[in-house]
């Protein structure tokens, strides 16, 4: 067998697109699985664009929500949350998420984080549910059954062991957005560092959008295919956009931005504050480059760059 006629990045089908094109793949009412974990690898630029495009009635899901979810809720795009928890780590809590919860403006389908991961896993495997023993006896389960998600959880006696079990239903998000370090034009995407539930969420979803810090030749991917978390054939769109998770961190690329996270937390304390933030940092700049300019430009970005050895 002679060499395969080198599939250049074009032959196998480039999925490169603009942020605006990618955000347009999320429709009003869609269920969007998010990428971040607290203040790491959040889909910030992507969320900005959803806000600019005025998407509505979204359902968001993640094991642990981060700033991307807080922005989308703060901007009024969200009607339901499926999650286990959320925070901005030491910077503070997700104030827009918590406020919406307190005021009842979102339905909060609130699980143990593993239950969310299991719902993605079932979706990814094409099985209808996963059995588990978390949430037994808890108010998490009681509230899901009675209020927020009676169709998505069941209790059952295990037919093998006789033990009590919780069954959590498979979840198939309409779209998963995954923020990664490296991708090729076909969509083969590699994540460095811990992957939390990104693999299962992406493989459960109907459509996957990869937002990559760096575009690499498919040769780079194929030199170490062990790191490919999402295969290109699962991906509908690839957006290459440096610093697209700012002010959250991307391991081996850049650190979180303390200053900006503190500023955000101060603003998000009130509804008025968050409206001001959205105006100042999302709508007025109008695109990602202008946003980066506004948060401190080249000097700030240079300061955030990760150390090669430490990775942060």
């Amino acid at each position: 067998m002679t060499a395969h006629p080198s599939r250049t990045d074009g032959v196998a089908g480039s999925k490169l697109m603009t942020l605006a094109e990618a955000a347009a793949m999320v429709h009003d009412g869609d269920h969007l699985a998010l990428s971040g974990f607290a203040c790491a690898r959040n889909a910030i630029a992507f969320s900005h664009e959803l806000i600019r495009q005025g998407r509505r009635n979204l359902t968001l899901s993640a094991c642990i929500l981060g700033m991307d979810a807080d922005l989308l809720v703060g901007a009024g795009l969200v009607q339901r949350l499926i999650y286990g928890g959320g925070s901005l780590d030491r910077f503070g809590s997700l104030q827009c998420v918590n406020r919406a919860y307190e005021q009842g403006t979102v339905v909060a389908e609130y699980y143990s984080s593993l239950a969310v991961a299991f719902r993605y896993l079932a979706g990814a495997l094409g099985i209808p549910f996963m059995p588990m023993k978390s949430m037994l006896g808890s108010d998490l389960l009681a509230r899901l059954k009675e209020e927020t998600a009676p169709d998505n959880v069941l209790e059952m006696t295990c037919p093998f062991t006789g033990d009590p079990l919780v069954l959590v239903r498979a979840m198939v998000p309409d779209v998963a957005v995954v923020q990664v370090q490296l991708a090729d034009a076909e969509g083969n995407a590699q994540i460095l560092g811990p992957r939390w539930e990104n693999g299962e969420a992406a493989k459960a979803a109907q459509r996957v959008i990869v937002v990559a810090e760096e575009l690499v030749s498919t040769d780079v991917i194929r030199q170490q295919p062990e790191l490919t978390v999402i295969p290109g054939f699962r991906v509908s769109g690839v957006v290459v956009l440096p610093y697209s998770a700012h002010p959250t961190s991307v391991y081996r690329c850049y650190d979180h931005d303390h200053d900006h996270l503190r500023l955000y937390v101060a603003k998000a304390r009130t509804e008025e504050g968050v409206r001001g933030y959205i105006e100042e940092f999302i709508r007025e700049p109008g695109d990602h480059v202008a946003y980066l300019q506004r948060i401190g430009g080249i000097a700030k970005l240079a300061e955030l760059r990760a150390d090669r050895v430490l990775g942060y």
Binding site: M1, T2, A3, H4, P5, R7, V11, A12, G13, A124, L125, G126, I127, E186, N188, K203, T218, I221, R222, P225, E226, T228, P231, G232, F233
Partner: protein, 262 residues
């Protein structure tokens, strides 16, 4: 086998490769093991389906081999893959998830409903002769959108009753497959060394599509162990083109590992 007008000389296994390749569409996700399926997929990628993606249960996506290996487990088969992962990732999160477009399946026996035995056959002395086992074949047959089976055309292989239904086709026909809860759409083609079959999905039964060049109706009849209607006007399987034969011989299987037969 004699060449047809304007067509080159070709072996039966080359014809089977070409018939397999023609069933594949660009952009499809395909499970293909070693041998004729692997060459068929490579041929499709070099001709009309450059974006076809091959999966392997061992935990591979889209390898670009430059040498033929001895099997799925041979690293020659993994060269320049885009993903190295796991059984669960490929057979679970792609296969069981229902994303596979075409799965190639070998078989020891098939019946008229496309049920497939890859486990064991009856010995002449009444005992069992055991083969390797289906591995992921049942998973592919249960979940793929379509399956293509490859089998030698003999009356003891195309049988009325299987020794072991390893990988269900249409079970007892009709809507038995759907009622059993199998998500995949079932078998779509059977490629033998004598003919090409499809399935009538409303009755869940095999149907002759074409007979290979040089093979007589009588030959097909006596080599088929279940009752088979051979319509008088059944077409001849289209022969390979010169370019297809050249690709197979010069690029895809230059050592004639899989395509020298007959």
């Amino acid at each position: 086998m004699r060449a047809q007008t304007e067509a080159p000389e070709f072996t039966t296994s080359e014809l089977m490769v070409v018939v397999g390749a023609r069933e594949l569409k660009d952009g499809q996700l395909v499970f293909a093991g070693l041998g004729i399926p692997q060459i068929a997929v490579a041929l499709a990628q070099r001709t009309h389906a450059p974006r076809l993606i091959v999966l392997n249960e061992i935990g591979l996506v889209d390898p670009h081999q430059i040498e033929l290996g001895v099997g799925n487990a041979d690293p020659r088969h993994w060269y320049r893959a885009a993903v190295f992962s796991s059984f669960l990732d490929i057979v679970g999160m792609v296969g069981h998830r229902g994303l596979v477009d075409v799965g190639f399946l070998g078989a020891l026996e098939i019946d008229e409903f496309g049920n497939n035995n890859s486990s064991e056959v009856q010995r002449d002395d009444g005992g069992i002769r055991r083969f390797g086992g289906g591995g992921g074949a049942n998973d592919i047959a249960s979940h793929a959108k379509s399956t293509i089976m490859i089998i030698r055309h003999e009356a003891r292989k195309l049988v009325e009753r299987l020794v072991h239904n390893t990988s269900p086709g249409f079970l007892t026909g009709g809507d038995a497959r759907r009622r059993a809860g199998l998500p995949g759409r079932g078998p779509s083609r059977v490629i033998t060394d004598k003919a090409l079959f499809t399935f009538d999905t409303t009755v869940g039964r095999i149907k002759l599509l074409s007979i290979h060049p040089g093979i007589t109706h009588e030959d097909v009849r006596v080599s088929t162990g279940f009752p088979l209607e051979i319509p008088p006007g059944v077409p001849e399987t289209g022969p390979p083109t010169q370019e297809e034969v050249r690709l197979i011989r010069e690029e895809l299987d230059p050592t004639r590992m899989y395509t020298s037969a007959i």
